[in-house]
Symmetry: C2
């Protein structure tokens, strides 16, 4: 299913086409695609090249997959039936010294963004979820306190939206909306619209 | 100048080719390219579609450009002479209620990641800098306390690496390094390598 972004300015097709689907197929995800998704994340930039991202991957109802699913909030369990689930963690401290890495969350966001671009290239869909029990995830996977669970990714091929419950189906078919670009780009001072969009 | 990632698995060319250059050309960046960069950021996913990213853009030594440059730490001022500088902010609160948005930094990271992909597509280079005075930036641009300065982006065409001082030139020509993928992907429990790379 396509839900291309309704853009004001032409952007790369993979960014235009990416959207956060909920109707996943049960068809397994090809292993070489999984490799490439994680490799794409690996090559994201990060502050001081700290690469604070870590991934715990569950595939096709293996034990990790089941545990990850169990941490999801009830609403997400309704639809997040993808063959791949990945918990994304951030290392909150610097690699070589005992100091906080203030950019860890930002940098994991970058890595996952690259993963989503690669996934779109592979005809896969990614839906990111903040709705899971981080404390239980810490326990289930023996996560050290210096790592922070950030999101769980549902990843898979597109399935059949007709199998979704009605309230989820509404979300699946609702248009992708964004704030106007003029509301997010300023110059001079905060809130002062940049005049670069004047001719729009 | 090319510095393609030395990947273990084949990834999208734009992710493979992107790198954080320091030798920027003084050639202005075409306005339609600037539009597309910001539009790409706009279509990033975000938690609850909060879109917490805001951008303050300075172009070609306008007043904003000069102010942004002035906030940079001395080391970055040596090389960050790009025709475009963008301060990226995160809205730390939810849009509709007075509650913290825990994903704001992660989501700004995603938006900037999309911007960097679009920039690579446009033959532009982006170098992200955490090294700037956030307090001074808050003052200079009247940034409300509910917004957090995260990074400044230097953006431009590639210039002449010979113009860089020697210590910067060393960075410019050093290879792009990443931790082994097996060190960042686990299953079962934290630190337990996922066996999906066994055949590598």
């Amino acid at each position: 299913m396509k839900k291309d972004a309704n853009t004001d300015y032409d952007i790369h097709p993979l960014i235009k086409q990416r959207w956060s689907a909920r109707a996943f197929s049960q068809e397994p995800v090809e292993m070489d695609k999984i490799h490439r998704l994680l490799e794409a994340a690996r090559w994201a930039p990060s502050s001081m090249n700290q690469q604070p991202w870590r991934f715990i991957i569950g595939i096709d109802k293996d034990e990790t997959h089941q545990k990850l699913f169990d941490t999801l909030v009830e609403f997400n369990q309704i639809w997040a039936k993808s063959p791949v689930l990945i918990l994304c963690l951030g290392k909150t401290k610097m690699n070589m010294k005992d100091e906080p890495n203030e950019a860890y969350s930002y940098d994991v966001g970058q890595a996952v963004a690259y993963l989503t671009i690669q996934a779109t290239q592979e005809d896969l869909f990614v839906h990111q979820m903040g709705g899971f029990d981080k404390g239980i995830a810490m326990e289930l996977f023996n996560i050290p306190v210096s790592y922070m669970p950030l999101v769980i990714l549902a990843i898979g091929h597109y399935g059949d939206s007709d199998t979704l419950p009605e309230k989820i189906k509404i979300l699946e078919f609702s248009p992708r909306l964004r704030t106007e670009i003029e509301e997010m780009v300023f110059s001079g001072s905060f809130g002062h619209k940049a005049d670069i969009f004047a001719k729009k």
